[in-house]
C-alpha cells in the first residue's frame, strides 16, 4: 500500500484548485479583459484585411502586416507576463520553503539541544566523580589504571564537544530583538580582529584592517554585529593557507554600510555556493566545524535588516560582504 502524501483536508477543493491552475482558468479569471483583447483584436483585424483584399489589395497588404505585428506583439506580451509570473511564483515558493525550513530546523534543534543538555551534564559529573575516585584508589599506577584514566579523559573531552554543539544549537535557535545603538564600526571590527590576531600569527596570516577613521556611526546592534564579524573572520582564517591574507574593509554610501571580509584562501566551489547558509553545511572535518556559523550570521544579519553577499573563486579566495541599512527599518536591503 502506498502512503497518502496529500493532506486530507478537503481534497475536493485542492483538486479543483489544481485543475483551475493547470487549465489556466485562474489566469483567465484574473485577466479577463486584457485576454479578450489579445484574443479578439488580431483575428478581427485579420478578417478586416481579408474583406479589404477584395476592395483594395494594397490596403489589405498593409492591414495584414499590421495584423502580423499586432499578433506577434500580443503573443510576446503574453509570454513575458506568463514567464514573469512563473518566476515570481518560483522564487516566492523557494523563499517560503527556505524560511520555513530554517524555522523548523531552529525549533527542532532547540528542542533536541534542550533534551540532551541534562544527560550531558550528568555524564560530565559522573566522569568527574569517577576520575576523583580513580585518583584516590590504591595501586593506581598499573597499566590498567592508566588506561582507565585515559579513557575517562576521552569521555570528558567528547562530552565537552557535545556540550559545545548543543550550546551552538540553542544559540542558533534563540530569537533576538536587535537593540539599536550608535556603533563605531571601525572600532568594533578592530576589537574583534584583535581576538583573531594571535591565531592568525600562528598561521603566519596577515589580518589587514583597511578601515577609515571617519566612518559615520551606524545604528545597529553591536553584540550581534560583533558575532557576525568574528564568524566571518574565523571562517576566513580557516580558509587560508600558511602565509595567507585576510583583509577587512568598510564602505559606506547614502543608504548602506558594507563590511567586507576578503581572503585569498581555498575559495568555494560553485556547487557549494547555494548551501553555505544552510544549517549544518560544513566541509570541515568532524569536530572542526558544525556548519552553524554562517546560518547564524544569516539569521542575525537578516534580523538587522541587512544581507550577506558572497563571491568566490575556487583556489583564489572569497569575499563575504555584510550590507546593512544605515537607517534601520527602512526596508530590507536588496
Amino acid at each position: 500500500m502506498s502512503a497518502r502524501v496529500t493532506p486530507a483536508a478537503d481534497p475536493g477543493r485542492a483538486a479543483r484548485e489544481l485543475f483551475s491552475r493547470a487549465t489556466g482558468a485562474r489566469v483567465w479569471r484574473e485577466n479577463r479583459l486584457a485576454l479578450w483583447l489579445h484574443f479578439l483584436a488580431p483575428p478581427t483585424l485579420a478578417a478586416l484585411a481579408a474583406a479589404a483584399a477584395f476592395a483594395n489589395p494594397p490596403l489589405a497588404a498593409l492591414l495584414a502586416v499590421l495584423v502580423l505585428a499586432l499578433s506577434a506583439a500580443s503573443a510576446r506580451w503574453l509570454m513575458t507576463r506568463l514567464s514573469r509570473a512563473e518566476e515570481a511564483k518560483d522564487s516566492l515558493t523557494d523563499q517560503l520553503i527556505q524560511s520555513q525550513k530554517m524555522a523548523a530546523v531552529g525549533e527542532l534543534s532547540a528542542g533536541i539541544a534542550h533534551e540532551i543538555n541534562n544527560p550531558i551534564a550528568i555524564i560530565a559529573q559522573e566522569a568527574e566523580w569517577a576520575g576523583h575516585l580513580l585518583a584516590k584508589a590504591e595501586k593506581s599506577d598499573t597499566p590498567d589504571f592508566t588506561e582507565l584514566r585515559d579513557s575517562l579523559r576521552e569521555i570528558r573531552a567528547q562530552v565537552d564537544r557535545c556540550g559545545g554543539i548543543t550550546h551552538k544549537l540553542l544559540d542558533f535557535a534563540r530569537r533576538r530583538e536587535p537593540v539599536l545603538q550608535d556603533v563605531d564600526v571601525t572600532r568594533l571590527i578592530d576589537d574583534m580582529a584583535r581576538l583573531v590576531d594571535k591565531e592568525a600569527s600562528y598561521k603566519d596570516v596577515a589580518l589587514v584592517r583597511d578601515l577609515p577613521q571617519d566612518l559615520p556611526l551606524l545604528r545597529t546592534d553591536a553584540p550581534l554585529l560583533r558575532q557576525v564579524v568574528l564568524n566571518l573572520m574565523t571562517n576566513a582564517l580557516h580558509a587560508v593557507d600558511k602565509g595567507g591574507h585576510i583583509t577587512v574593509t568598510t564602505k559606506v554610501d547614502d543608504a548602506h554600510m558594507d563590511i567586507r571580509v576578503a581572503d585569498d584562501g581555498c575559495g568555494i566551489p560553485e556547487e557549494n555556493m547555494a548551501k553555505l547558509f544552510t544549517p549544518f553545511f560544513t566541509t570541515k572535518a568532524p569536530g572542526q566545524g558544525t556548519g552553524l556559523g554562517l546560518a547564524l550570521c544569516h539569521n542575525l544579519v537578516l534580523g538587522m535588516g541587512g544581507v550577506i553577499l558572497v563571491s568566490s573563486r575556487p583556489g583564489q579566495g572569497s569575499v563575504f560582504t555584510v550590507r546593512l541599512p544605515r537607517v534601520p527599518g527602512t526596508g530590507a536591503v536588496r
Binding site: D171, L195, K198, R226
Partner: protein
C-alpha cells in the same frame, strides 16, 4: 551619566583595586568579587547595570559565570576581560551573549566607554521591557 553600577569580577586583586579607584573617581558605583560564586551572591542581593568578568579565574571560569549571569540576570550586560586574546573564548563569549571584549592590560578610557555603552543598552532593554508590558 554617573548613575551606573558595576560589578567587577577578577581574581587579580591589584587590578581590581586600581580599577575600582578609577571608577569611583568618576562617581561610578563599583562592587567587586574575586570569584564566580561570590559574584553570583552579590547579584542575588542587588542589581548591577554592567558586570566585568575576567575570563580566566580559578574555579568557576569567566565563561561559566557569564552563562549563569545571562540565565539568571538577563538584563545585566557583561563585558569580558581577557589577558590573552583567544579566538575560541572570543567566539564562545560573544555567542553566550557578552556585550563586548576588552583585552588586558585594559586601557581605562576604553573600558569606561564600553561600560557606558553597555549601560545604555541595558537602559534600552529595560525601557522596551516596560513598554512591552
Amino acid at each position: 551619566m554617573s548613575d551606573i553600577s558595576i560589578l567587577l569580577v577578577d581574581d587579580e586583586t591589584d587590578f581590581v583595586e586600581t580599577m575600582t579607584k578609577r571608577f569611583r573617581i568618576r562617581k561610578i558605583d563599583v562592587a567587586s568579587a574575586s570569584n564566580g560564586p561570590d559574584a553570583l551572591n552579590l547579584l542575588e542581593g542587588r542589581e548591577f547595570d554592567v558586570a566585568i568578568l575576567d575570563v580566566r579565574m580559578p574555579g568557576m571560569d569567566g565563561l561559566e559565570l557569564l552563562r549563569r549571569i545571562r540565565a539568571k540576570h538577563p538584563l545585566t550586560e557583561v563585558i569580558m576581560l581577557t589577558g590573552h586574546a583567544s579566538l575560541e573564548t572570543g567566539m564562545q563569549g560573544m555567542s553566550l551573549g557578552a556585550f563586548d571584549y576588552v583585552l588586558k592590560p585594559a586601557d581605562f578610557d576604553d573600558l569606561l566607554d564600553k561600560v557606558r555603552r553597555a549601560a545604555e543598552r541595558r537602559a534600552l532593554n529595560v525601557r522596551t521591557r516596560h513598554a512591552g508590558g
